[in-house]
């Protein structure tokens, strides 16, 4: 008995059985949600648009990490670094080769994908934590290369990026139009990620995560699967970086430190592993927390006696890590699991199960 379907919904074909949004009600709600997200910027001000754009960009990055860690079970501590590679790819291509943003965007995904596969290759042959160490090393090497290759990357001064050129008469200089573009790309990437999760490769990811020895004996090439997971995840990270960087029209190597990679992992845990909704929830929680901490930090400064210019740095470090640890201890499967429980209790009301 599948409790996620309302009473009286029977599947007569296998196509129906596989559908994600089975009933007409769900399809309508999905359509309304998407339309609502498109209409949102007309309601909120500029501040709201900036938050929404960043939530969308980070959602793409979080989806990438969900593919690597949530679906395939490989721990990657360098995700922010690959986002940075994506950002800098666009910056370099725009500055040195004058390419338009539309050409740079797929490259911003492919370059981190190949660099990631290069760093991950030795570790993906082996079982255990080795990918975590390899990505940690990758992070430091990438930051070093970007900071010191002055001729190409302008070093630690950062690079200017340009927004996309005019397309179909829409000018992306305005934040609202840019948000609509980012939203469209986010919806496309979410669609791709959802389909990946239920396709052959996605199943092999989960198989490798659950029992990689058995997966190998059952015909799944684990090395290929792990490398594909890592590559596709880094592709998503690169695209996220490119979109985020183009929003600010500036990119600096200091924006993606080891802290950010760890927050990626941490907020993925808060959102929930192994589901697309979890990735979206994690990215949303992260950005909302960011805004919250920006608002709250002046209060802590006065609490600590006014001298506390360091309070903002310490605040995010302490506050976020406590949130993540509390979630891990009390609800290790994250917000997505809680949401499933809410849906289930609504469906099964008044019975407990």
């Amino acid at each position: 008995m599948n409790i996620n379907r309302p009473c009286g919904t029977f599947d007569r074909t296998y196509f129906q059985a596989k559908e994600l949004y089975r009933t007409p009600l769900r399809k309508t709600l999905l359509a309304l949600l998407i339309v609502g997200m498109y209409l949102l910027p007309f309601v909120t001000g500029d501040y709201g648009i900036s938050i929404l754009t960043l939530i969308c960009a980070f959602t793409i990055g979080m989806l990438g990490l969900q593919i690597i860690t949530g679906y395939c079970g490989q721990i990657s501590i360098g995700h922010a670094a690959f986002m940075g590679v994506g950002m800098y790819t666009v910056g370099i291509l725009q500055r040195h080769f004058g390419l338009s943003f539309w050409v740079c965007l797929p490259l911003a995904g492919l370059v981190p994908m190949f660099i990631g596969m290069m760093f991950g290759l030795p570790a993906l042959r082996m079982k255990g934590l080795y990918l975590a160490f390899a990505t940690l090393a990758a992070h430091f090497v990438i930051v070093y290369v970007i900071s010191n290759w002055r001729s190409v990357t302008n070093g630690t001064d950062g690079m200017w990026m340009k927004r996309p050129d005019v397309l179909f008469g829409i000018d992306f200089k305005s934040d609202r139009n840019y948000y609509l573009l980012v939203l469209t790309i986010t919806i496309i990437m979410t669609y791709l990620a959802t389909n990946l999760a239920r396709s052959k490769l996605g199943r092999s990811f989960v198989a490798v995560r659950d029992n990689d020895i058995a997966a190998e004996v059952m015909g799944i090439n684990i090395a290929y699967t792990k490398i594909m997971a890592f590559g596709i995840g880094c592709f998503f990270a690169g695209i996220a970086g490119a979109l985020g960087g183009a929003y600010y029209e500036y990119v600096n190597v200091e924006w993606f430190g080891l802290d950010d990679s760890i927050w990626y992992l941490g907020f993925l845990v808060v959102g929930g592993f192994g589901s697309i909704f979890g990735a979206i929830a994690g990215a949303t929680v992260w950005k909302v927390m960011d805004e919250f901490s920006t608002l709250v930090t002046p209060l802590t400064e006065t609490l600590l006696g006014g001298v506390a210019f360091y309070a903002s740095a310490a605040f995010s470090l302490i506050f976020y890590s406590l949130i993540i640890i509390v979630f891990l201890v009390f609800e290790p499967r994250g917000i997505a699991h809680r949401w499933e429980i809410v849906k289930r209790s609504y469906r099964l009301h008044p019975f407990p199960y």
């Binding site: 296998y14 198989a207 029992n211 020895i213 058995a214 190998e216 059952m218 594909m228």
Partner: protein
């Protein structure tokens, strides 16, 4: 294609008593199955493991063991605990690397191939301590077993409509076929981690079947089951052997089952093969009796 879009209610009326029809069609596309009425098909050797030796440190797990599996037979491997039976299966399926010896499947050398290549060639096995994908449901486990035979690449998979969609529905039909055969319909949606041990063993067998096996290696499929479940399992094994025309290698401790369904028996003891032959011979072989069966 037609089977997939047809209403399932009609499908039930046309079911064979065995089930496994779609799976058999898939296998038949690749190689013709021999005529069931022709008793004179000579028994060709399908799997040959010659001179296998493997040692873990000082412990000699297998010592120059030679095993042959002929077409269409049920071969049982028996022996006391620690005799090296699972080890032999692991070497054949490419999980362990033997120090000496060769394995041939249909005269193709598979000795040092990686496990997934061997699985693609049709050598499928189940595990003694069940190794299912614990996060997935039963139906997903079986579809995951179809992995080498699903033909679309990841880009098509990400775009999904229309190619991957059709392919997924087709694979679902084949998996449902297997579920019908193994009588797992009532648990098809449950996550595997929640199931009882006997059901998990059946899902394991279903996953091995989903790989379109050329030969099936079963590692203690009846461990921990009562008489009812053992009879069910024996029925499944015989059905698979007769309907899909594949040989089955069986590691088993229950002598009643072994003597009943096996065509030939191989006896291992501390890594050495001490006897081989049909069940009547083995029952009366003095070496086997002293090592394993016990007098009387």
């Amino acid at each position: 294609m037609a089977e997939i879009t047809r209403d399932i209610t009609k499908k039930r009326e046309q079911r064979y008593s065995y089930g496994l029809t779609l799976l058999r069609e898939c296998i038949e596309k690749k190689r013709p199955l021999s005529n069931p009425n022709n008793k004179e098909t000579e028994a060709k050797t399908l799997l040959r493991a010659e001179d296998i030796s493997i040692a873990f440190g000082k412990l000699q797990a297998l010592n120059h063991v030679k095993v042959e599996v002929k077409e269409g037979e049920i071969l049982a491997i028996i022996g006391p605990n620690g005799a090296g039976k699972t080890c032999l299966l692991n070497v054949i399926s490419g999980f362990y690397r033997a120090q000496s010896g060769e394995v041939f499947l249909e005269d193709k050398r598979i000795t040092h191939s990686s496990s997934h290549r061997i699985a693609e060639l049709g050598l499928c096995r189940t595990f003694q301590n069940i190794a299912l994908y614990t996060g997935l449901s039963v139906i997903d486990n079986i579809i995951a077993g179809r992995h080498p035979h699903i033909k679309y690449n990841f880009v098509t998979g990400m775009i999904y409509f229309p190619f991957a969609n059709q392919e997924e529905a087709r694979q679902r039909a084949i998996a449902e076929d297997i579920i019908d055969f193994l009588e797992l319909e009532h648990v098809r949606g449950s996550v595997v981690g929640m199931l009882a041990y006997g059901l998990r063993k059946r899902v394991e067998m279903g996953r091995a079947l989903a790989l379109e096996p050329r030969i099936l290696l079963l590692d203690e499929p009846m461990a921990g089951m009562n008489l009812d479940e053992k009879e069910d399992m024996a029925r499944f094994i015989i059905d698979i052997n007769e309907f899909l025309k594949i040989p089955i290698v069986l590691i088993e401790h229950d002598m009643g089952v072994v003597m009943d369904i096996a065509d030939r028996i191989v006896v291992l003891d501390f890594g050495n093969k001490i006897a081989e032959g049909p069940p009547e011979e083995i029952k009366s072989n003095p070496k086997v009796i002293s090592a394993y069966l016990g007098a009387g």
